[in-house]
Symmetry: D2
Subunit: 289 residues, 4 copies
Amino acid sequence: TIQHIFKEIFKASLELQEDDHSKALLVSRKKKAEDTVVTVNGQPIGDGGQSFIVGPCAVESYEQVAAVAEAAKKQGIKLLRGGAFKPRTSPYDFQGLGLEGLKILKKVADEYGLAVISEIVNPADIETALDYVDVIQIGARNMQNFELLKAAGAVRKPVLLKRGLAATLQEFMNAAEYIISQGNDQIILCERGIRTYEKATRNTLDISAVPILKQETHLPVFVDVTHSTGRKDLLLPTAKAALAVGADGVMAEVHPDPAVALSDSAQQMNIEEFDHWINELRPLVKQKA
Amino acid sequence: TIQHIFKEIFKASLELQEDDHSKALLVSRKKKAEDTVVTVNGQPIGDGGQSFIVGPCAVESYEQVAAVAEAAKKQGIKLLRGGAFKPRTSPYDFQGLGLEGLKILKKVADEYGLAVISEIVNPADIETALDYVDVIQIGARNMQNFELLKAAGAVRKPVLLKRGLAATLQEFMNAAEYIISQGNDQIILCERGIRTYEKATRNTLDISAVPILKQETHLPVFVDVTHSTGRKDLLLPTAKAALAVGADGVMAEVHPDPAVALSDSAQQMNIEEFDHWINELRPLVKQKA
Amino acid sequence: TIQHIFKEIFKASLELQEDDHSKALLVSRKKKAEDTVVTVNGQPIGDGGQSFIVGPCAVESYEQVAAVAEAAKKQGIKLLRGGAFKPRTSPYDFQGLGLEGLKILKKVADEYGLAVISEIVNPADIETALDYVDVIQIGARNMQNFELLKAAGAVRKPVLLKRGLAATLQEFMNAAEYIISQGNDQIILCERGIRTYEKATRNTLDISAVPILKQETHLPVFVDVTHSTGRKDLLLPTAKAALAVGADGVMAEVHPDPAVALSDSAQQMNIEEFDHWINELRPLVKQKA
Amino acid sequence: TIQHIFKEIFKASLELQEDDHSKALLVSRKKKAEDTVVTVNGQPIGDGGQSFIVGPCAVESYEQVAAVAEAAKKQGIKLLRGGAFKPRTSPYDFQGLGLEGLKILKKVADEYGLAVISEIVNPADIETALDYVDVIQIGARNMQNFELLKAAGAVRKPVLLKRGLAATLQEFMNAAEYIISQGNDQIILCERGIRTYEKATRNTLDISAVPILKQETHLPVFVDVTHSTGRKDLLLPTAKAALAVGADGVMAEVHPDPAVALSDSAQQMNIEEFDHWINELRPLVKQKA
């Protein structure tokens, strides 16, 4: 029947359209079939192995960062996180140490031979950040801060881009496209939970996002288990799920003394908890092919 | 200061309250610390091992069900699913074969030595179902059909209860409480994805729900990867995640010829795909302690 | 270009498809252009005028219902609500007086010359309900309890169908189709808020649903401001919005002494508040054309 | 009993806490009871009257803007919107004319005696914008771009702040607090729909947000009906609802020839549609007390 023919044409054109669209994106696997390997301080991310990024939510002092760095190094971790510029819901919450925080991170990183990742929130600070960090983080609240994305795309430094609070995967990939279209393809995508009606967890970890992003893009994909769940008791099972589902790595927050942390005190592991966590996960980590 | 004291009292009473509430539920681990083992046809579920439930979305014919049963049996699977009463969004979609479907399931199950699980949608049909099924399924759309829950609680037959389309975990546990409070503690909880803004998947698999339900209740927890994702290409990675996160088992839809299936044709595996899927998962399955 | 042509065909077939689909539904305005007027006890609903349904969340006693009935009658309201069968999240919460509750409602309604609406939750109770209620309510949790919908469609009594907790408008219209396809076209649709991430209100009132449902179906549409918001302080502004947006009426809960109510105590108006509320709204009510 | 006492203390301290928190915010009505009136080009907003902001999604040319300005002026509207910097999901979509667009807006505004509102997306552009616009708009994607908020707070120019795509009302009020805490209290809040599972509308208009924001803050509140619904056929009923619910004004997009618009072509009214729309709404508009 005529209707049936229309339906077939309809389906064909639908696929054609979607095809078109995905092909147009530089982040798409249709544009580049092989995996992009992001190299951080000589360490590859996205080469088939799985790795970890740990560190305190916010940089508070040299001693605090150094304590985590020491624990991380002992466990063979190469990448240290720490917030210097903290985007906080309320203007009256601790906003981070700023440049001072970046300097502490850099000093500790140099002493322990680690690479450093830290969030930048103002396009004007991207240039400065180049001297201090090995990976620029763009946070969930800034995933569609296109000026910041363009600024991060204009430099030659790896970028870890977090999924927005309620971003679709299409929007997430398009946000990465803002960076890559400026010439910077050293991008790590990071699923960090999405906003849903369920409040048992801080956000809802969208575990399916990982295989979808791995299929549709050529970029490495991490899972931030701390912000996804907001619950220390879920960091181990969700990290296991992340490794099993095929993520290139897992990010989690560690603080020498979470009870006195200036932010996110309830959800950071202390050193002992971190040691237990990483020891449980180690047997599950895939090594580079 | 007085304010600080109030805050401490506040926190203490908050915990007290929550404590109270959870203690009151019969499904709560505070009420019963050890795991409930559900026994289906002599097979234990929730004893520390992990198992699978597979089968077609809807029962269509003896031949169709038998084909899946044969494949399932070959792979060592003990539990066969199949829909006889199908709750469908539109009244004009295929509504299932009803009692005829239950009879087909029973016949095939007997021939292949499998146990059978099928959804019941009317409290009046619970009694009839006892003669045909080994596990009564209560579907997502009926998670708060309290009359149906009470009817399922009044019989002595295992129940698999699916999480509602947009149910909170509190509501889910309370729905199970409707069953257990009638005297039936043979309940399997089943995470099947929740409704969110993200449309890349049919629903959003809430993987964190598994460890939360395992902590807060003593009941076995399954993950239905088919309805969570609605995408065949995600069945393998999400099943890996489910096993890794600690689920007691995984449910998935298998159809000998998905292209002609009367429902959910896009998301069911064919026999060959199923064989590949189960072979990939087998090494990850935890055996009974 | 060829691509452009494909896109045009694509759009045309898309519209054709959607057309098809809507045309198929008996609730669709494409199937029946003129408004359906539901007649309750001789009173028309959906004739262009706007009306109110008020009453307590749950029937607790003759005195309680009579107090509200008296207040309602004084204000010229014709339709009284009251829950006899209460679907509650926890099995340990007050479940309603059941048949006893229906008898109280009937007695009060007869004395005050009002029509009565009450929720039925079990298909087996639909027949019994015919003797006591003028409108059968099907609640949000049962919007996709298809057995109940079919039972309500098989009788000749008006039905007020509430939108499910997280139902799409397509699913809502299809649920109504389950009723109308059984031969009962006396259906009132009721928007009652949807489940979202925002917790400032109990649910999020989807005000746009009203004009969409009025456009796409020929059925009357009410707004339940009590369950939409769960906040007494929002009942007046949201009722104004509902009247302005074109709803056929507004439903709200009124209790002579909300503080001692057995359910929903925080969100019910007392008689004095109700009098103020209705007096503020009266000038905005559209009268039958 | 001891438990009951604890519960009472619990409730009391809960209220105390919430009280505390709200009192701390400068945007809170607890801090300032009377309404803030924002003065734009001598025109008051938030003085009890209701007004409109209309204009094209994006500034495309002098002729385009002038056509809308003429229509707006004829209808007695004082405030013209138009996007010069367009935050777009894809980097390959039209990004706006930038400074050139601001110049066109300024020229047209001067000729027609209108005030102009336009979105700024980079903190570095706030200073420049002062010469061209009467109200700085901060868009939904930038609601938690705290650097931009601080920059807008540091100048003496009214700001229209849109609610984020999936922002809670608490986050929205805190975002406004970032502006006011820098010394700028000339803030208009704008509800523009939130992201939910329902896709019948582009976003879900959260109409209850208006009375809540009016109660909890002293700031004027607008409703953007265009982005809330994304459907031209809903602009009239939702604008009626916005006026009825107590908004201080309504924003909508108007384009002389929507079919050729470079963005949002499906949801903008043409001049004729705009004239009809405003004529229908005029009788409902509340005049200054």
